[in-house]
């Protein structure tokens, strides 16, 4: 049976833009963890390691070969639901991206970002 919440999860939560407490764009809701009975959203899952599971089976196999397996804490992050501040046109988090391990691709401390000509 489909509950109201489940429809909401796909309509308004999955694939939504995530912003941290400073308003920085730090990723998208690539998957959602749902647990318990009655089922509740317990975490947002974020990271490019999760992309293969969003693709049709044949493409997923190819994508996994390119991106490698899901490595939790690296290319796949779990953001507990308690860290979510609210939903508007984005998912707003309570903390800064660094504290949750998000937004590393735009992190000025990362060597590849540090080597860009304008940094």
């Amino acid at each position: 049976m489909k509950g109201e919440g489940e429809i909401f999860v796909v309509h308004r939560l999955l694939d939504e833009q995530i912003c941290d407490s400073d308003g920085r764009r730090v990723g998208r809701v690539d998957d959602v963890e749902i647990r318990g009975n009655p089922p509740r959203v317990t975490a947002l899952l974020v990271g490019d390691g999760l992309y293969p599971r969003r693709l049709p089976r044949r493409l997923a196999r190819l994508a996994r070969r390119i991106s490698g397996p899901e490595r939790w804490g690296q290319n796949a992050l779990r953001i507990p639901w308690e860290e979510v501040d609210g939903l508007s046109s984005t998912v707003k988090l309570r903390k800064k991206a660094e504290e949750l391990g998000l937004g590393m691709g735009d992190d000025p401390e990362r060597w590849i970002v540090r080597r860009l000509p304008w940094n």
């Binding site: 309509h11 920085r24 730090v26 969003r54 046109s89 984005t90 691709g105 735009d106």
Partner: protein
Amino acid sequence: MRAILKIALGIIAAIGGFLDIGDLVFTTQAGALFRYDLLWAVVLGVIGIAVYAEMSGRVAAVSGRPVFDVIRMRTGFGMGLLALVASTFVNLLTLAAELGGIAIVLELLFDAPYSMFVFAGAIALVGIVALLPFGGIERVFGYGGLLLFVVVATVFHQNPDWGDVAHGFVPTLDSSTLYLYFVVGVFAAALMPYEVHFYSSGAIEEGWTEQNLKENRLNAILGYGIGGILSVGLVIVSGYLFHPIGVEPSDLGTVALPMQGAFGETGLLLALAGMLFCVGGAAVDSSFAASYNLAQFLGWEWGRYQGPKKAPRFTASWLVFLLLGIAIAESGINPVEITEYSVVFSVVALPLTYLPVLLIAGDRSFMSDYANGRIATFLGWLYFAVIVVLALAAIPLLLATNAGGG
């Protein structure tokens, strides 16, 4: 008063920024081959881009979502990725065509080889984008593009048989595949997807909210509408001059010849300079569109307003797309040919980006009171039907006519 002036300046920039190399090539060829018979297709395309731009601008202003945000939300990761790959492919082809166009115009204005000017043009673009804020970039190219109003002056100077011109606005379907190919081309050139990717992201760059909806509507209707007059003018001047003598324009320089015929050296220079700004602006728009789409789809920080330090991946991807565009433009393929392919493939990719915008614009849970009304819903679905038909017809026509080569 200041607010009105600001809106007026925005509209004027939209007018001048309407044309790109696809419009220049397809309207001039359409005029040469079919005289005024395809004017109705130009009008059809202009209304289409106004409808779609207004909708995407409204969605961006009200819900804070640019086009690829909407696409990922509505179609999910898999279909969204398909839309991203298709859009990036056509945006890159378009960028290459515009860079090639810049080089051709520079080659005509100054005497030096084409390949050198591809680099020179691209470096100039990087300089302009690096130095000016977002609004400034739009305006430099938009105002410069207004020089092309010399086309409208040329129409009145030629003083064609106005009855014949009026007749061209009545839709006629000729069964020849070449004619149908140009219907698709003229329509698609007006409705290039990068324009809407750029326009909706620009609304976020400039911090639009519900307060800007009037500005959005005026920009879309007046900006694109008056901009469309330039396309109409290009068909007429080409039809008047080239059709009777059977010239088939195959290079970009031909586009400017009617203006030289009417006003001599001055006409030629105005036309070439106007073309340079139009094509340069479109190169900026299409390269930004490619980076906007990628960043929005993946959830990266993005925007010229953030600056390169806050949005390093967005900025780096823009430079990579520019380099890829240069590589295609330098590959030795004729830019006019790249243009034709970019325009025709665009219409194939268009339904993938058009449908999600149409769905969200009509969704009250996203748009509350600003959702599509009756007119926008009707026009939106009507144009979606037209786009799907043309998308299905585009590739067979491209092959059947050997890309318009007959």
